[in-house]
Each structure stands twice: as C-alpha cells, then as structure tokens.
C-alpha cells in the first residue's frame, strides 16, 4: 500500500469549492445542526435533498477495522480501513444563522466516527419505515440515553402498512409528548413540515411550565 511517511495528506485534486450559488453571505455567523437518523434506505438522503438549498454533499470518515486510532500505531500499513459516508444539506435561516442537516445510519458505531455529531445538535428526526420498525428501537433508545430531543417521521412507501399513530407510539414505546408525523421525504413541503414539528417540539421543551 502507498502510505506517505511525511505528515502530508494524500488527496485527489483539483479541489473544487462551492458553486457561486452555494456561497454563504459573509455575515453568516452561527450554524446549528439537526441529525436525520434512520435505517438503511429509509429515505434520509432524499429528505436532506428535498429541503436543502445546496445539492447534498458528502463527508466521510475512515475507520480502521480494528477500531484503533491510526495515530497509535506506526505499523498502519497492516490495517485495513473502511470509509463511511454521511450526506448533508444546508438551509440558510437568515443572514447570520445557517441550519445544517446530516443524514446518518442508525447504528451507534457510525455516530462515533463523527466527532460530536449529536453534541450541540438542536435535535434529531428519526425516520422510520413501517415495514421495518424494529430498526428504530435501538436508535430511539440511544437518543433517549443521550438526551437528544427527537421527533419520529414515518416515511410513506407504497408497500408500507399504515398504522394509527397511537399504535405506532405503543410499538415504538414513545412517551406521549414525542411527536409522530407522516412524511413523504421526496417533497420539500413535507420535509419542511417534519422540521417544523421538531422545532415546535423543541420550543415546547424550552417552556416546561406551558399549560
């Protein structure tokens, strides 16, 4: 394998920057993030793409098979590495504030790859497909453990059985206050509504005294 022994980075060039229409204003001062999490093929990338003002981009992280830190071992050439990708999109909220949306697979081992993916996130959208509800159990448990507020969005595929919301709530063992909304990840308005329900839920959490 070709490894450089110096501290340089092997990268394919040329390096493109953002297209002119994808440039943020100089006044952009703060960014916030929301994580879209769900099983494989549940529509994460579609949802991100539907609401994003930029064509979704991909960031990746590499992971050694042994799971050890590359820095810990001079004999790196013996290790095989795996690349895991995460799609993301962007919505400019106003001249100063930018919202980023990250779509990530449900397993926790992927989350660890991105330093602080959930750290400082406003909240999360758990995207579920009623044909495979069971893949969401673990995700929901992990988010609860980490204290990340979330809403559940049920993506409607043609062959997906539809259940009354309260049946889904019981199946997913969700507390009464966690919103469950339907969505068509391909439609911008639908994706926007999902984000809105997350925001309304987050808003309600800032005011626990609310009647």
């Amino acid at each position: 394998m070709d490894f450089k022994s110096s501290d340089t980075v092997v990268a394919p060039g040329p390096f493109a920057g953002p297209r002119s229409e994808d440039i943020l204003p100089a006044s952009a001062a703060t960014a916030v993030k929301v994580v879209i999490v769900g099983g494989f093929g549940v529509g994460k990338t579609t949802l991100v793409g539907a609401v994003s003002e930029i064509r979704p981009l991909t960031t990746e992280e590499t992971m050694t098979q042994a799971g050890a830190d590359v820095d810990d071992n001079a004999g790196v050439e013996r290790k095989t590495a795996t690349t895991v990708a995460m799609d993301f999109g962007r919505i400019s909220i106003n001249d100063e504030l930018v919202l980023y949306l990250f779509g990530t697979p449900g397993q926790q081992r992927f989350w660890f790859l991105w330093n602080g993916l959930f750290e400082g996130a406003l909240g999360a959208v758990v995207l579920v497909d009623t044909r495979r509800l069971e893949v969401s159990f673990d995700v929901i448990g992990r988010l609860e453990e980490r204290g990340v507020p979330f809403v559940v969005a049920v993506n409607t595929f043609p062959e997906s059985p539809s259940y009354p919301v309260e049946e889904l709530r019981a199946a997913l063992d969700l507390p009464a206050e966690v919103p469950i909304v339907g969505c068509d990840a391909r439609r911008r308005e639908s994706g926007r509504d999902v984000l809105m329900s997350l925001m309304r839920y987050l808003y309600s959490l800032t005011n626990p005294e609310r009647p």
Binding site: M1, D2, F3, K4, T8, V9, V10, A11, P12, F15, G17, P18, L24, P25, A26, A28, A29, T30, A31, V32, K33, G39, F40, L57, T58, T59, E60, E61, T62, D71, V76, A81, T82, T83, V84, A85, F88, R90, I91, I93, N94, L97, V98, L99, Y100, F102, P105, L113, N115, G120, L122, R188, E189, R192, L195, M196, M199, R200, Y203, T206
Partner: protein, 119 residues
C-alpha cells in the same frame, strides 16, 4: 441492517492518509465541529501545501467544516487537522456553533421556525 458490512465502502488505499504524531493544534482540532464556520483571513500562497491553499480559497466566504471536507474530498479527521494548522497560523477564523449548554434556546428556535416558513 442485517448485514451492515455490505453497506461499507472498501477503503481505497490511495485515499488513506497518515498524520504524524506531534502535529500541533490538537486542542483547536478538538474544538472544530462539523458546523463550525471557517472564514479565510489570509490569501493562499503558492508555497503552501495545496490543501491549505485550497481551504483559504474556498473559505473566502464562510463555509462549514463539513463542507470543506466534502469539497476537499477528505475525511473529517484529516480536514480538521488541516484547518487546525491554518487556525494556529491565524490564517483562518473559526465561528463556533451555539454552545450545547445554551440549547435549546427560545429565540434561536423561533428564528429557525421563521426561516423554515420561507422554505
């Protein structure tokens, strides 16, 4: 989900990178979030490592660390090392995201809702 390994891309050896121990800026690197906004404060120079020059060019206007990683086609871990180099030399400015302790913040959530309504 039954066989997650099949979802993994095999790492291309050409894409792998090695960063020597003792590279500076570790604390700055740790402070870089996916959504920290990076803004160039210096011009790219031909003597620079090409990746550093590329970051200065693309961050003429604010750009998140995640976007820099995507455009460089480099993993986040390598991207943050490069940005930390530039931060240490004061060639870029980092605009940190809202600290976790301040979340959720009513005014912030209201602003986001207002922005989403325009979508």
């Amino acid at each position: 989900m039954s066989d997650p390994d099949q979802e993994w891309d095999e790492g291309d050896p050409e894409r792998l990178y090695v960063i020597t121990r003792g590279r500076g800026g570790l604390s700055q690197r740790a402070a870089l979030d996916l959504v920290t906004l990076i803004v160039a404060r210096a011009e790219p120079h031909p003597s620079m490592q090409p990746e550093h020059a590329a970051i200065l060019r693309m961050c003429h206007y604010p750009l998140s660390v995640a976007e820099v990683s995507a455009y460089l086609r480099l993993p986040m871990s390598a991207t943050t090392v490069l940005i930390a180099d530039l931060l240490a030399d004061k060639r870029v400015e980092a605009r940190a995201p809202v600290p976790k302790a301040l979340l959720p913040d009513r005014a912030l959530i209201e602003a986001v809702m207002h922005g989403l309504q325009k979508l």
